[in-house]
Amino acid sequence: MDFEHESDDPFRDDEDDPDAHLSLEKESTKEYVVYLVDASPKMFTSTCPASADDQKEESHFHIALSCISQSLKNQIINRSYDELAICFFNTREKRNIQELSGVFVFNVPERDYLDRPTARLIKEFDRIEESFAKDIGSQDGIVPGTRENSLYNAIWVAQALLRKGSAKTVDKRVLLFTNEDDPFGCIKGAIKSDMKRMTLQRAKDAQDLGISIELLPLSHPSDPFNVSQFYAELIGLEEDELADFMPSSGNKLEDMKDQLRKRMFKKRIVKKLKFIIVDGISIELNSYALIRPTVPGAITWLDSVTNQPLKSERTFICADTGALVEESTKRFHPYKNQNIVFSTKELSEIKRFSTGHLHLLGFKPLSCLRDYYNLKPSTFLYPSDEAMDGSICIFIALHRSMIQLKRFAVAFYGGSSRPQLVALIAQDEIIQSGGQIEPPGMHMISLPYSDDIRLVEERHSEKVGMVTRASNDQIKKAADVIKRIDLKDFSICQFANPGLQRHYAVLQALALEEDEIPEIKDETLPDEEGLARPGVVKALEEFKTSVYGENYDEECEANAKPSEASKKRKAQAEVATKECENYDWGELADTGKLKDLTVVELKYYLTAHNLPVSGKKEALVSRILTHMKK
């Protein structure tokens, strides 16, 4: 990932971009989200125990806000065309188009209630807790004696916010954060059932309009959130989904944040694939991009005076005649002193194999999948019965067998940009502290062809005889080092990309016209303190001694064995120095006779004085004169 390279090239040819066709992230899959946050007093009084060493507890309200804040920052980077609204219910103040009480839509200037995220929104939302009590206020909206129903109002407001856009082209979602599993618990009798019925009807109406309501419950270990109490019906969970909904809610704060964060994602299918296993048995798979490098957005060129975006126009000019031409459908490649011309149709025909299908070729033991068989990020495959009944069943059977037998599948993927061999690795589900760490399914890894693999190691083989190998003692010392510098709980997600973080910190500061750019902590630096611990230092010292010997100085080693080329250079320099002494350079220069010398002779001087020897004769002469300060 090279930021500058990628972003400096706004006209990258999408035809050749292997991932261009993979991304279905067009306008049509835009997302409108309303974050509906319960602001009842219970959200402020309930807390979540923080991790063991840190005694600070955090309120549910704070957790919900920090999840949303994180999601906003993510969204402005990755999916800034999506729109969102943030809406609190059970509030003292009200602000919404319908003037319903107990519901407050949070917003900042220059922005509609439902709109794209802006730098200002993110900034002010981060500070909302400071002024929440003053400006918005927390107050239970459902109390006995009144028929006020803040939950009903909240869903209605959310529905109204999501009125724009067609449900076909936009995903409309309401994410509901609450810790009250029985919102009508304080009401009794007929009024209760009446209010409950109304609220459910309201939710159903919203769902009928293509709005999905998702619940993000917050709970305490001593007081678990009971979904079946009320919300199961509201969000339309069915019997079998109920068990899946709360996979034993985590006890730790971090786990809860993690789960909430994951629930906020919307799964996006990259492609539907047909996987031909054997003749007559083809199953349906959906592919997902679970890992893709995040890069800073593309550059937009602006007019430096007005700061208005510029339009770029492409024109094609015939290099021979200078005439403007249409984009040509012909391409050529020079070969044997000819220009061989291809039509674009012929070129796509060359790349055409069984289009879009995945064709099973066989299986190999996992040990055959070497670490250097990799070219790009993997793609995740999960079966679907949507079009073909039985796909899931076959997939599970293969998946289980492959894990048991420790084998991976080799298949040919006839994608349009780069038809290729792929390895399919079955991944078992991994669940840690109640959350799914790795989903069950298969990962599709592009295999290199022999054309893509370079024989580097062999080029470094010793011409004759053996290379030195480590002795058992040295290996043991190395093992001690490895034991000492052990990252126990290493997980790939633990580092934020410091380059990217910096990039967006700069943009945010500039967008908000702030003077200071906040410092970004680079989490990727080694743990200096840890490395300075006596045990680590001792292990490193011992390893060093066993390999390099006592009192080893690295510089010595580097100079002790000069390479062939450097030996040659040295010899040349010696010769030059010697030859150089045969001339009286001062006089030659004074009398202007330098130009009468040969280039070889001139180079003696240059080499002897460590000067560059490139260029034409005049350049050499003038270089010598400059050096002699004449």
């Binding site: 449900a167 048995i281 957005g297 490649h333 999948l369 039985g390 989903p439 290379v467 380059g499 390893f543």
Partner: protein, 687 residues
């Protein structure tokens, strides 16, 4: 460039036992020369054949002996005639002696270059090494080979041997083969030689590197275990995608008589302001802007350079961890390899101890890398140990980039165990699957691994370069179909399928697949439908929303032909009246679908579906008075099937009575009743 030019002598065994594989040798060797013509056109190539009836080489004239060795092409700068010669190698009639050929090849290189060109002289031997080499006049064969190998080292020659075994060699005398293997191994230990054993045609195509790229370091310096312990390493690319060549845009504007025409097309980019579309904004009046939400933040390069992230160049170890903490699918990019600095024995030792300790303990190392000075980002990656199994190759480490937190999308998927029982596979199904996984084996014990990436060529590139050569002679040639060897990369191997017929049959019988009749829609889709119809009813009442609603409605309509119900989709598109273009679109989409069905059909399994579609298309074209569309398409399909030998489809056409649309059925047609009838007759296979 010229100083990197290589001199290569191909030593090809064309004896009787080689005849069956000569077509593949022709392909791989001509490809090698073709690529030299493109990428390294100053390279020199010579071709020596052995196992020929004739004898034609300088050594036989000078000292006698060296029978049945023919110098087909003397060493010279690559030219088209070498490609042609390699495309039609003669079949030899006698057993060849590969050692004779090696000596002839060496002699050619020595005579041409003497002591010069060290390291750039290469011999490439392709043989099945089934015939014994002659007894030397004095000493043993081993001694003779050792002497020759030493000579190679002296002259700075490298040798690459590709030895054909398994399916590629017939039953041969095992004793002789073992002896020859032993002799060839001497080369590998005594000089820089590489022997590759291949057992099938695909790996023969992949085993000979047709393009050699000189690796260059992407990093040279310290691998920092701690500030106090640094190991000098070199980092190279281990894999890098060999891209499809970028072709230039062709302009035919220049006169065909103009010999100096470049035919190139220049692409010009101009930036224009959106307010004044005619005004071109010069580069110095442009400033870069980055999107941040709806805002575009302008920032000049100088400003950016001042504030951007500037990590220090270097490789720093973060720590070691269990290899199970990094999963295979988390690798992000192409792979690098870490090798100790050349000639630095201490560094080699240090790296070797780490590699071996990591392997023993099942650990990997996590690294933070900044490869270049001024790079604006860091890379986090994992080092995995690579123990060398050859004694003259040093141990090394492979480096794979890992994702950052921002790069991972943590989607949640249902556990398989949560699916209801009817969806779960039963015991018998699991067994059938396990058998398939076990038996469809691409890495059988004791045999060569099939489709080993290191020996599998890229079929697209093979096809392109072959086509390029073909076009250089016949400009109008059509794209050739994949040959049988390359098909083994893209399709399952027939032989393997035959061997496991019962396992496959059992698998097929164990599972039931059927197209989902309920056409199960997600709840969301169902909701949408209700939404659509509900809105329609209220259409008159809320006129303000009308335009929006029409858009909604049309969005629910079918706008393409899918895989499941092509006929229904086609009819639905036809029925749309919101835009007359739909008819044309539907016809085009249907044509494509039919074409795809026929083309993707395997042993006619798509034929019935394709016929259904064709019938629907015919009906539609009659109704819409578009007979010409259908007629020309049917003719195309017809000739396509003839070309691809899809006679059974043609047969079923006539059996279903699908023929051209005559005048009697659609007035616009130019086809007479008779013509339509005879079209069917024509499709009957000629006896």
């Amino acid at each position: 460039m010229a100083r990197n030019k290589e001199a290569l002598v191909l030593l090809l065994d064309v004896g009787p036992s080689m005849h069956s594989v000569i077509p593949e040798i022709e392909k791989v060797c001509s490809m090698l020369v073709e690529k030299k013509l493109i990428f390294t056109k100053y390279d020199e190539v010579g071709v020596v054949l052995f196992g020929t009836e004739d004898t034609d080489n300088e050594l036989t004239e000078e000292v006698g002996g060296y029978q049945h060795v023919v110098v087909l092409k003397n060493i010279k700068v690559v030219e088209g005639d070498i490609v042609e010669a390699l495309q039609q190698l003669p079949r030899g009639a006698t057993h060849g002696d590969f050692l004779d050929a090696i000596i002839v090849g060496m002699d050619m290189l020595i005579k041409k270059f003497g002591e010069t060109n060290k390291g750039k002289k290469r011999l490439c031997l392709i043989t099945n090494a089934q015939c014994p080499i002659k007894e030397p006049f004095e000493g043993t064969k081993e001694e003779q080979v050792t002497t020759i190998a030493k000579q190679m080292t002296v002259h700075g020659m490298r040798m690459e041997s590709i030895i054909l075994r398994g399916k590629l060699s017939q039953d041969a005398n095992k004793k002789i083969m073992d002896e020859n293997d032993q002799l060839l191994r001497i080369f590998s230990t005594e000089t820089s030689a590489r022997s590759t054993y291949v057992e099938n045609p695909v790996s023969l195509l992949g085993a000979l590197r047709t393009r050699n790229i000189t690796p260059s370091t992407i990093f040279k310096g310290d691998l920092e275990l701690s500030p106090k312990l640094k190991i000098k390493v070199l980092v190279y690319k281990k894999t890098a995608e060999e891209k499809f060549p970028t072709l230039k845009k062709f302009s035919d504007k220049a006169a065909s008589t103009d010999k100096f025409a470049t035919h190139e097309v220049k692409v010009d980019y101009e930036y224009k302001s959106s307010q004044e579309p005619d005004k071109v904004v010069p580069p110095d009046q442009r400033i870069k802007g980055y999107r941040y939400g709806p805002q575009i933040v302008p920032i000049s390069q100088a400003e950016w350079d001042a504030v951007k992230f500037k990590p220090e160049k270097g490789l720093k170890l973060l720590g070691f961890t269990d290899s199970s903490n990094v999963l295979r699918h988390q690798y992000m990019k192409d792979v690098n390899v870490f090798i100790a600095e050349t000639g630095n024995t201490k560094a080699t030792l240090a790296l070797s101890s780490l590699v071996r300790a990591m392997k023993e303990m099942n650990k990997v190392a996590i690294l933070r890398c900044v490869w270049r000075h001024g790079q604006a980002n860091v890379v986090i990656g994992v080092l995995t140990p690579n123990l060398s199994d050859k004694e003259n190759i040093p141990d090394s480490l492979y480096f794979n980039a890992l994702p950052f937190a921002e790069d991972v999308r943590e989607f949640q998927f249902p556990s398989f165990s949560n699916f209801p029982a009817p969806i779960q596979p039963n015991e018998q199904q699991l067994e059938a699957a396990a058998n398939l996984v076990k038996m469809l084996d691409l890495a059988p014990q004791g045999k060569e691994e099939v489709l080993l990436p290191d020996f599998t060529p890229n079929p697209v590139l093979e096809r392109f370069y072959r086509y390029l050569e073909l076009k250089s002679k016949h400009a109008d040639a059509a794209v050739p179909p994949l040959d049988d060897t390359l098909k083994k990369i893209t399709e399952p191997d027939d032989e393997l399928l035959q061997q496991n017929k019962s396992v496959i049959e059992n698998f097929r019988r164990s599972f039931e697949l059927k197209e989902n009749p309920r056409h199960k829609k997600s709840r969301r889709l169902l909701r949408e439908e209700r939404y659509g119809s509900g809105e329609e009813n209220s259409k008159g009442e809320i006129p303000a929303l009308a335009s929006n609603l029409i858009e909604d409605k049309s969005n629910v309509e079918v706008d393409n032909i899918g895989d499941l119900t092509p006929v229904q989709d086609f009819e639905a598109m036809f029925a749309r009246r919101d835009n007359p273009d739909w008819v044309v679109k539907a016809i085009d989409a249907m044509k494509n679908k039919i074409h795809d069905l026929i083309e993707d059909s395997h042993e006619g399994d798509n034929n019935s579906k394709a016929l259904e579609c064709l019938a629907a298309l015919r009906k539609g074209c009659i109704n819409e008075q578009e007979p010409k569309q259908f007629n020309s398409f049917l003719r195309d399909i017809w000739s396509f099937c003839q070309e691809k030998n899809l006679h059974d489809f043609c047969d079923s056409l006539s059996s279903k009575g699908i023929t051209l649309i005559p005048k009697s059925e659609a007035a616009d047609s130019e086809v007479t009743e008779d013509e339509a009838r005879s079209f069917l007759v024509k499709s009957q296979p000629k006896v």
